[in-house]
Amino acid sequence: MANLKEIKRKIGSVKNTQKTTNAMKLVSSAKFKRTEELAKKSRVYAGKLTELLNEIAQKMQQSNAEGIDNIYFRNVENPKKVDIVFITADKGLCGGFNFQTIKRTNQLISEYQAQDVKVRLRAVGRKGIDYFKFNNVELMNEVIGLSAAPEFKQAAELISEVAESYVNGETDKIILIHNGYINMITQEIRVDQILPVDTSKLELNSASTSELEVEPDDDDTLLDALVKRYIEYTMYYSLIDSLAAEHSARMQAMDAATTNAKEMVKELTVKYNKARQEAITTELIEIISGMESMK
């Protein structure tokens, strides 16, 4: 019977899909472990760097009543131009991971546009680029490959370029959006203000009383270097964070897909058995009724 054959073919194809999704899950879990290792290592460095920046900023704030007088700290009340850098994955099949970032980016764009602020977009990751290209939104930068294999040098180059346009006055604010990793089953959209450095976020506790000596004497030299390194590292760390989140999201999505495929195979098997039974019954009735008519 044609129907039987059809169901059998379907079972085979679903089983194949299940194999693929399961393999993808395994690949992602292996990659995830590596990424997490990387994240763990760089977290220490990022933490120390932030700590140091905190202390310097605190010291400068104490010595200057009007706040910190440095280009990276100047806070524009009403920004006219904003740069948004957002990170998505290069690949799909990871649930709503990419779309969450895109959605948040879109939301921010419309928020800023409502305030008459010019927004420039810089995209990292193929999925985000594809989306905004499809919707005819202009992108300042398009970086492919970096979100799948974060590399410090490349990340630093990208963000330095953005920072330069900030120093030149081409933009008043730089925002970084990425989907960060919380744990195996949760990801969280993180929106960070890269520049100007958000002093409200720095923990400026006035508890430390010890005089801080700075070398070179000129505060700005040190602060400039530190801020530059800080944003470079924030960018790099966000890439790693995003990659870890991507892999965990994909693991989750592929796990769900594998389970669904399993369920489907089960359902189809029941259907197949029913159809087979039906065919047998029909055949039996045919034979019996044939015998009856012979009598």
Binding site: E215, T221, Y236
Partner: protein
């Protein structure tokens, strides 16, 4: 001699974390040594070599490209971009020396700073 805590952190993680007697750092304004109870200080670090005198008085050198150091009364924290450790008991010292030299040469510092650091590395290599 009083000991102090020294920590060296690179983007690849913590490479050194122990109690030491003294550390000599390549500051951007010149080399300086730090002992326990040093006044609080933050400095840029230039391309060069960090020389550590460990608690057992043995010396350890770490070649770095650039970074920062924060010194306070109880602890010294170096945040560096790239580092290669050169220690005497390392069997592949030659390899470490090569690595250190490549690291030093890859920076954007002035040629004299690089040359000074490279010669220092070579000197350490001979003395170990």
């Amino acid at each position: 001699m009083e000991l102090m805590k020294l920590e060296i952190v690179t983007p690849d993680g913590v490479i050194f974390d122990a109690e030491v007697k003294q550390v000599t750092l390549p500051g951007s304004e010149g080399e300086f040594g730090v002992l326990a109870k040093h006044a609080t200080l933050v400095s840029l670090l230039d391309t060069g070599v960090i020389v550590i005198e460990k608690s057992d008085s043995s010396e350890l050198a770490v070649a770095i490209n650039s970074g920062y150091v924060k010194v306070d009364e109880e602890k010294t924290t170096c945040i560096v971009d790239g580092a290669v450790a050169l220690s005497g008991d390392d069997s592949d010292l030659a390899k470490a020396l090569e690595e250190a030299k490549t690291l030093l040469k890859s920076t954007e510092s002035s040629n004299t700073a690089i040359a000074a650091a490279v010669s220092k590395v070579e000197h350490i290599g001979k003395s170990l």
